[in-house]
């Protein structure tokens, strides 16, 4: 948290120093005064981009500046802190990159504005995963939790109600998404793993880890509960109080029995836990698995028969953004969907929202490996040029259709969130 604060002050100090246009420019830039004559037109186009580290590559910012002249200033925070910042300091950023599940909190606050689908060039080419909840081949995807298509449309620009039918007002223009599962150390487990039930298997006592975000941790636990046949939820992403009690009871028993080594919150923590052998099975993110592997340590992003827990994020703008800044925001989002950034994300193991443009920016062999689940024809390199996989290897979980087609639920905020948080504190104290 202190990390974020430091960056914040650094940023405002920087923008203060840079504010050649003086106080007026800063006020207009922060959107404090709307309709004020814009005096920064000769200034470089700058957008303050608030998000988690997922999409915030320096390479993306550099390429964006080269292509569009828009300078991206990243404000990096953890998922929880991004939400907190939107609620408490809506004027401290221009473009927001956040996950769909936080919309249930963000939209009612009125601090963010949707984007107009008609101004997004590639909108019609956005994968139907977002718009219809199905794969490009028409297969329906699991929709438990805060699935993006449930919260994609607003009734009007200033509405606080999600529309059930498509409208032009898009809460978040999708950028990146993935199907998450358990990461394992095959060299230490030495047997096939194919079910979420293994996360709480006493065989891995003291060697398992959970994600330390209550709303996500409890969903992983719910996957285990269903996998072991103890209970079947109507919606794992929106439990009743009784279901929360049941899930927490099972988690508490596992904790007391010493099942968990640690809970992680940060990308690097998860990499360290796995790479050092402190844990051998844990919920994980795809690029973290890739990073462990790039250290020469075997790690598998293990597909499981009960399916994946998916997440998705996208762009919207702060309510303080208007005038030229809003135009730049559209320009930036359009650039982001135009392919280069999509290819960059695909090469990290994420998925891009507009598949066609990303494909045009990837080599056919890369596309075949990452998206079609085919053996790599050549060595697979990361966006920075590091060797990720040798020729001949296969992607964990296979093709896009195999992975996204097996999504069981989406990261969510429950209606009973308040109760769940109290239960989580009880769980930690037990």
């Amino acid at each position: 948290m202190s990390d974020v604060t430091e960056k914040t002050t650094g940023l405002s100090r920087r923008s203060l120093l840079k504010g050649a246009a003086g106080v007026a420019g800063i006020a207009a830039g922060s959107g404090a005064i709307t309709g004020f004559p814009y005096v920064m037109s000769s200034e470089p186009k700058v957008l303050r981009y608030l998000g988690t580290a997922v999409n915030e590559g320096d390479d993306i910012a550099k390429k964006c500046f080269a292509d569009t002249g828009i300078k991206i200033e990243y404000i990096t925070a953890t998922t929880d802190d991004v939400t907190k910042r939107v609620i408490t300091q809506p004027n401290s950023f221009d473009v927001l990159d956040t996950e769909y599940f936080s919309l249930k909190k963000l939209i009612p606050s009125g601090n963010i504005l949707p984007l107009d689908a008609r101004k997004i060039k590639e909108f019609d080419n956005i994968t139907p995963v977002f718009t219809k909840g199905e794969l490009p081949n028409g297969k329906k995807i699991g929709g438990q939790g805060t699935a993006p298509w449930k919260v994609l449309y607003l009734e009007s620009e200033t509405s606080k109600t999600f529309a059930t039918k498509p409208t032009e007002w898009i809460t978040l223009i999708p950028t990146v998404y993935n199907a998450d599962t358990l990461g394992i150390r095959p060299d230490l487990i030495k047997r096939p793993i194919n079910s979420w039930a293994e996360l709480l298997n006493p065989e891995f006592k003291g060697k398992a880890a959970l994600l330390n975000i209550p709303s996500i941790g409890i969903m992983d636990a719910a996957m285990v509960v269903e996998a072991t046949g103890q209970y079947k939820y109507a919606d794992k992403g929106n439990m009743t109080k009784a279901e929360i009690d049941l899930t927490m009871k099972i988690l508490t028993e596992a904790k007391k029995a010493g099942q968990f080594r640690a809970f992680w919150k940060d990308f690097n923590e998860s990499v360290n836990l796995m790479a050092s052998g402190e844990t051998v099975i844990q919920s994980m993110w795809s690029p973290a698995v890739t990073k462990v592997r790039s250290m020469g340590i075997p790690c598998t992003f293990q597909p499981l028969k009960e399916g994946y827990r998916s997440w998705a994020s996208g762009f919207c703008v702060s309510k303080g953004v208007s005038g030229p800044k809003l135009d730049w925001a559209y320009e930036f989002v359009n650039w982001f969907l135009s392919g280069w950034a999509g290819a960059y994300l695909n090469r990290q193991g994420y998925y891009s929202a507009v598949l066609s443009t990303a494909r045009a920016n990837m080599e056919p062999y890369e596309w075949a490996y990452w998206m079609e689940g085919k053996p790599a024809e050549k060595d697979i390199l990361s966006p920075t040029g590091a060797l990720l996989e040798k020729a001949g290897s296969l992607r964990d979980g296979g093709s896009y259709d195999d992975r996204m087609g097996n999504v069981a639920c989406w990261n969510a905020v429950m209606d009973e969130n308040d109760y769940m948080v109290r239960k989580w504190n009880e769980f930690i104290a037990s």
């Binding site: 948290m1 929880d80 802190d81 939400t83 907190k84 609620i87 249930k104 909190k105 963000l106 009612p108 606050s109 003291g206 330390n212 975000i213 209550p214 904790k255 010493g258 968990f260 080594r261 640690a262 809970f263 992680w264 919150k265 940060d266 690097n268 923590e269 360290n272 050092s276 052998g277 402190e278 905020v413 969130n417 308040d418 948080v421 109290r422 989580w424 504190n425 009880e426 930690i428 104290a429 037990s430």
Partner: protein, 295 residues
């Protein structure tokens, strides 16, 4: 009153004003706001400025109804106080020893300063680095376990070295002994050396001199150091979180979890409760020694 006493009063007020204003702006006003917010209501995403005891009722949920089983609040504070007591006891012994060495065995002032600075080394790095740095030492495949297994002292790696109460106490002691060393050292160097000589001349043994002369004269330093350590450990959630693998409850962590869930009034209520508990501990400690009189 003569004009000169009035102007002297004015000068005194003016001298006190900067500190008073800083204190007001950065302590009293924020504290008042926290207390105010703790009595507000809230929903999923915002605070609602209407009077509500919800922050407190939810924090103390189950404390009466679930008796004799301890509620979340009791368990959390039980854990935090346990850490407090252990860290306090260890830092006191270690801190006193280090301060004694610095004050009575190191003769040159330059070396005293240099060695005091060495005590600040644990602060030269960030918490994240520190957390990652412990893994290669205490981890399952870390240096200590490798050595113990290699020497056939244990058959398999010791699990409780990391992500346990042990590692939390170790890290807290590693960090906060410094806060004990400096005040005690400060008390010790003020001790008139002739008192110690007098004790020696009167036939006191080394232990008797320590216990009847030095320790009583170090009381203010001990109390100040204790207040530092206790208040820091009571409010710590980063070290306990990082070294406890996020599986050990602390009062600060409860506040953090509620903040992350945007439940600011409950977080504020917990902060007020934490402040209350900490103030009570400090009041009790100041009862034992009147620091102002001793200084």
């Amino acid at each position: 009153m003569t004009p000169s006493t009035i102007s002297r009063h004015m000068v005194a007020w003016a001298q006190a004003a900067p500190m008073a204003l800083v204190f007001l702006a950065f302590f009293l006003v924020p504290l008042a706001l926290v207390v105010m917010v703790s009595f507000w209501d809230y929903n999923d995403y915002a605070m609602i400025p209407t009077f509500s005891g919800r922050g407190y009722t939810e924090s103390f949920e189950g404390c009466l109804t679930r008796l004799p089983e301890a509620c979340t609040m009791l368990k959390t504070y039980g854990q935090t106080l346990k850490f407090c007591a252990m860290v306090w006891a260890i830092t006191l012994v270690v801190g006193f020893t280090v301060a004694y060495f610095l004050a009575f065995h190191v003769k040159s002032v330059t070396w005293q300063i240099a060695l005091s600075l060495v005590c600040t080394i644990p602060f030269w790095t960030s918490n994240v680095i520190r957390m990652i740095a412990w893994i290669p030492l205490l981890g399952r495949n870390g240096l200590i376990n490798k050595t113990l297994v290699g020497l056939h002292i244990v058959d398999k790696p010791i699990e409780w070295l990391l992500y346990s109460q042990f590692s939390v106490v170790l890290a807290l002691v590693h960090l906060f002994t410094f806060f004990m060393v400096i005040p005690i050292f400060n008390s010790m160097i003020r001790i008139d050396k002739s008192l110690i000589e007098a004790a020696y001349d009167a036939g006191a043994s080394g232990w008797q001199t320590l216990w009847t002369v030095i320790v009583p004269l170090c009381k203010p330093g001990i109390v100040i150091g204790s207040i530092f350590v206790v208040t820091i450990v009571m409010g710590d959630f980063v070290t306990i979180g990082v070294m406890g693998g996020q599986q050990i409850a602390s009062a600060g962590k409860v506040v953090e979890t509620h903040l992350n869930a945007l439940q600011f009034p409950v977080a504020a209520a917990n902060a007020v409760i934490l402040l209350g508990v900490t103030l009570m501990i400090i009041a009790a400690m100041s009862k034992l020694v009147d620091v102002r009189k001793e200084l």
